[in-house]
C-alpha cells in the first residue's frame, strides 16, 4: 500500500472514531453544559395536577370478580389505543387482572379463603421509585419523569431491544410484535397509536394529569382506586396507607413500587 492512501485511511478511521465518541463525551459533560444551554420550556396547563411522586392505592376488598375490573380495563384500552390481539404471545396489556398467587408470588400463602384464591387482582406498571427498566434502557427511551415520578416511554426513540422487559420484575411491559393498528377497536385521535417493534406500558395517564383529570381507571373505579401524591402527608393515598394494612408487589426487590394494595 502506498503511504498517501494509508494516511487517508488512517485519517478516515480517526475521524469516524471521533464522531462516534462525541455524544458519549457530551453525556459525561452534560453537568457543565446545563449552565449554558437554555432548556426548551413546555407550557403547562393551569389545571395540570402535580405531585412529587404519583401513587395509587387499590382497595382489593372492593373488587370481587372479572366483571368489577372490566370497565377499568376497557376505558384504559379505549383511550390509549391498546390493541386486542388474539395471539396470546403478542398480547399488549397495560392494566389487567391476575390471580393472587400470580400478583404476589412471594406472598402466596396456602389455604387462602375461596374468595382470595379465585378473584382477580389489578396489575399495572408500578411506576417504581427505583425503576430497573429505566436503568436498563440503552437510549433513555424509557425514563422516570423528575417532576412527578411517572415512568414514561418515548415510543419514537425506543429501538425495541426489550432489555426493559427483561428488567421489569412485574411483567408490566408489552412489545409490539406486529403492527398493532389493525387490532385497535376504534382509534382515539387524542392519543398516539404505536408502530411495530416498540415497547409500551401504562403511563399513569400522564396525558390526563396534564389537563387536570385523574387517571381513567381511577375515574372509572368510582372510589375503589385512589390516586395522589405519596410525598404529601395530607394526601388521600397517605391517609389510606397509614390507616390500612397495605402490601406492594415484590417489595423485597427494592424497586419501591408506587402501587399499594389494601388487602
Amino acid at each position: 500500500m502506498d503511504s498517501s492512501r494509508r494516511r487517508v485511511l488512517q485519517l478516515l478511521g480517526l475521524s469516524s472514531l471521533a464522531l462516534t465518541a462525541k455524544p458519549v463525551f457530551n453525556a459525561f459533560a452534560k453537568e457543565q453544559a446545563h449552565a449554558e444551554k437554555t432548556e426548551p420550556v413546555i407550557k403547562e396547563s393551569e389545571k395540570a395536577l402535580k405531585a412529587k411522586q404519583w401513587a395509587m392505592v387499590i382497595d382489593t376488598r372492593e373488587f370481587h370478580s372479572e366483571e368489577d375490573l372490566k370497565p377499568l380495563i376497557a376505558v384504559c384500552d379505549k383511550i390509549h389505543n391498546v390493541p386486542h390481539l388474539a395471539n396470546k404471545r403478542h398480547e399488549i396489556k397495560w392494566i389487567w387482572g391476575a390471580p393472587y398467587h400470580n400478583t404476589f408470588p412471594d406472598k402466596a400463602g396456602r389455604f387462602l379463603s375461596e374468595e382470595v384464591e379465585h378473584k382477580p387482582f389489578l396489575v399495572l406498571c408500578n411506576h417504581c421509585e427505583n425503576p430497573p427498566c429505566v436503568r436498563a434502557c440503552p437510549t433513555k427511551a424509557t425514563f422516570k419523569r423528575e417532576s412527578d415520578g411517572i415512568v414514561l416511554m418515548d415510543f419514537h426513540r425506543c429501538i425495541g431491544c426489550r432489555f426493559c422487559m427483561a428488567a421489569c420484575p412485574f411483567g408490566a411491559r408489552s412489545f409490539n410484535y406486529r403492527d398493532p393498528r389493525p387490532f385497535i377497536v376504534k382509534i382515539d385521535k387524542n392519543f398516539p397509536t404505536r408502530m411495530k417493534g416498540v415497547v409500551e406500558k401504562c403511563n399513569f395517564c400522564s396525558e390526563r394529569l396534564a389537563v387536570g383529570q385523574l387517571p381513567a381507571c381511577v375515574e372509572a373505579a368510582e372510589g375503589k382506586l385512589h390516586f395522589g401524591d405519596l410525598y404529601d402527608p395530607e394526601s388521600e393515598v397517605r391517609e389510606l396507607i397509614k390507616t390500612n394494612y397495605t402490601i406492594r408487589r415484590k417489595q423485597q426487590l427494592g424497586t419501591e413500587p408506587s402501587v399499594y394494595y389494601i388487602v
Binding site: E91, C137, C161, R162, A166, G171, F175, R178, G197
Partner: protein
C-alpha cells in the same frame, strides 16, 4: 493480503457459494421479519428474548475464547502458539461480527440503532456491551491484520501493537463479563441472579472457543499445506479440559445453592429446564443431552490416552461445543424467562423463520471466517511452505 481471499480452488468457491445461499435465505426471511415485525419468531410477552440473544451470548463466549491462544503466546512467551494466534484472533473477529448481527436482527426498530450513540446511557449495561464488543472487534482486526502482514513481510510487527495486544487480553474477559452483567443484574430473574454467572460464562467460553479452534485446526491441516501443529492442538485440548470441568463444577455449585436453600425463585427455573414444571418440559431432553455431552467431553479430554488421539479429541470437541451451545444457546435464556415474573409458564419455542435467520447469521460468520482463514493460511503457506 486481501487478494489471497479471492484466489482459491473450486472447492473454496463452492463452499463460499454454499454459505452465501444460506445467508441469502436468512436475509430474505429477515426482510419478512422487518416487514411483519418480530411476531414471526416464537418470542412472546413473557419470553421477550430468545434464539437470537442466546446465540449472541454463546458467540460472545467463542470470541472471548480466542484469548486462550493469545495469552500464553504473548504473556508466557509460549512459542508454539505463534503459529495459531492468528487463528484465534480471526475467529474472534468472525464471532463478534455474528454477535453484532444477532443484536441487529433482534431489534424491533433496527434503523434506530444509532440512538444508542446519540443518547448514550452509561447506566445501561447494553451501552457498555456495545463499547466492549466493538472495541474487541477493532482490537482483533488491528492486531491480527498487522501481525500477519509483518509475518508475510518477514519483519517483526510494529512496536505500537504491543500495548494493544496486552489490552486485548483483559478486554476478552471483559466482553463476556459485561454480557453476563446484562442478565445477572436484573432484579426478579432468579435464574440469572447469581454472582457466578460471569465466571460461568467465561468457563464455558474457554471450553467452547478453543474446542472450535481445535476442530478448525484439524480441518486446516487436512485441507491445506499448513499444519497448525500437534503440540498446539494438544495444548489447546488441555485448556478445553480444564475449562469444561470448571464449567460443570460451576453449574453444580448453582444447583447446590438453589436446591439446598430451597428458594423457589431460584429452583423453579432449573426444575423447568431439567425435569419440567407444571407439565411443561420442552427443554428437558435438550438439557440432559447438554449435560451428557459435557460429561463425555470431560471424560475424553481429561483422560490422556483419549486426548492424545486426535480422532477421539475431535469427537470430544464436537461434544463440548454442542453441549455448551445447548446450555447457553437454548437453556440459559429461555430458562431465565420461564416461569415469568407472574410465575406463569408460557413456553418459548423458536419458530422456523427465526431458526433460518439465525442460521443465516452463522453462515455469514463462517463466510467471513473462511475468507480470513484463507488469508492467514495463504500467508503461512508462503512463509513456511
Amino acid at each position: 493480503m486481501l487478494e489471497l481471499a479471492i484466489k482459491g480452488s473450486k472447492k473454496y468457491y463452492g463452499w463460499m457459494a454454499f454459505l452465501l445461499v444460506i445467508v441469502g435465505v436468512g436475509f430474505l426471511l429477515y426482510l419478512k421479519q422487518l416487514d411483519f415485525g418480530l411476531g414471526i419468531t416464537g418470542l412472546s410477552r413473557d419470553t421477550s428474548w430468545g434464539f437470537y440473544i442466546a446465540n449472541f451470548t454463546f458467540l460472545v463466549g467463542v470470541a472471548a475464547g480466542g484469548v486462550m491462544v493469545v495469552l500464553p503466546y504473548y504473556l508466557h512467551d509460549y512459542k508454539a502458539y505463534g503459529k495459531v494466534t492468528i487463528l484465534g484472533e480471526f475467529l474472534a473477529i468472525a464471532s463478534v461480527l455474528m454477535c453484532v448481527t444477532f443484536i441487529l436482527v433482534d431489534l424491533g426498530q433496527p434503523m434506530r440503532i444509532l440512538n444508542v450513540f446519540l443518547y448514550p446511557s452509561p447506566r445501561s449495561v447494553l451501552f457498555w456491551d456495545t463499547i466492549v464488543l466493538n472495541g474487541y472487534l477493532f482490537l482483533n482486526i488491528i492486531i491480527g491484520w498487522n501481525v500477519l502482514e509483518a509475518e508475510r513481510n518477514g519483519v517483526h510487527y510494529q512496536k505500537w501493537l504491543k500495548p494493544l495486544i496486552y489490552i486485548s487480553i483483559p478486554w476478552a474477559v471483559s466482553i463476556h463479563t459485561v454480557t453476563a452483567y446484562l442478565y445477572c443484574g436484573l432484579p426478579g430473574r432468579g435464574f440469572w441472579m447469581t454472582a457466578i454467572l460471569a465466571p460461568r460464562f467465561l468457563s464455558s467460553a474457554f471450553a467452547a472457543g478453543p474446542a472450535l479452534l481445535i476442530l478448525l485446526c484439524l480441518i486446516i491441516r487436512r485441507l491445506t499445506d499448513f499444519d497448525p501443529g500437534r503440540e498446539q492442538i494438544q495444548s489447546l485440548a488441555k485448556t478445553v479440559a480444564y475449562a469444561i470441568c470448571i464449567n460443570v463444577f460451576f453449574f453444580l455449585c448453582e444447583v447446590f445453592v438453589s436446591f439446598y436453600s430451597n428458594i423457589p425463585d431460584h429452583m423453579d427455573h432449573i426444575k423447568y429446564l431439567f425435569v419440567g414444571l407444571q407439565g411443561h418440559g420442552a427443554y428437558v431432553p435438550w438439557m440432559w443431552a447438554s449435560f451428557g455431552l459435557m460429561i463425555v467431553g470431560i471424560i475424553l479430554t481429561v483422560n490422556p490416552s483419549t486426548r492424545k488421539n486426535e480422532g477421539v479429541l475431535a469427537v470430544a470437541c464436537v461434544a463440548i461445543f454442542a453441549g455448551t451451545w445447548i446450555d447457553k444457546g437454548l437453556g440459559m435464556i429461555a430458562g431465565g424467562f420461564t416461569p415469568s415474573p407472574l410465575h406463569e409458564i408460557n413456553e418459548y419455542i423458536p419458530s422456523i423463520p427465526e431458526i433460518m435467520i439465525a442460521l443465516g447469521v452463522w453462515a455469514l460468520g463462517f463466510l467471513v471466517l473462511t475468507a480470513l482463514y484463507k488469508i492467514a493460511v495463504g500467508v503461512k503457506e508462503e512463509v513456511h511452505g
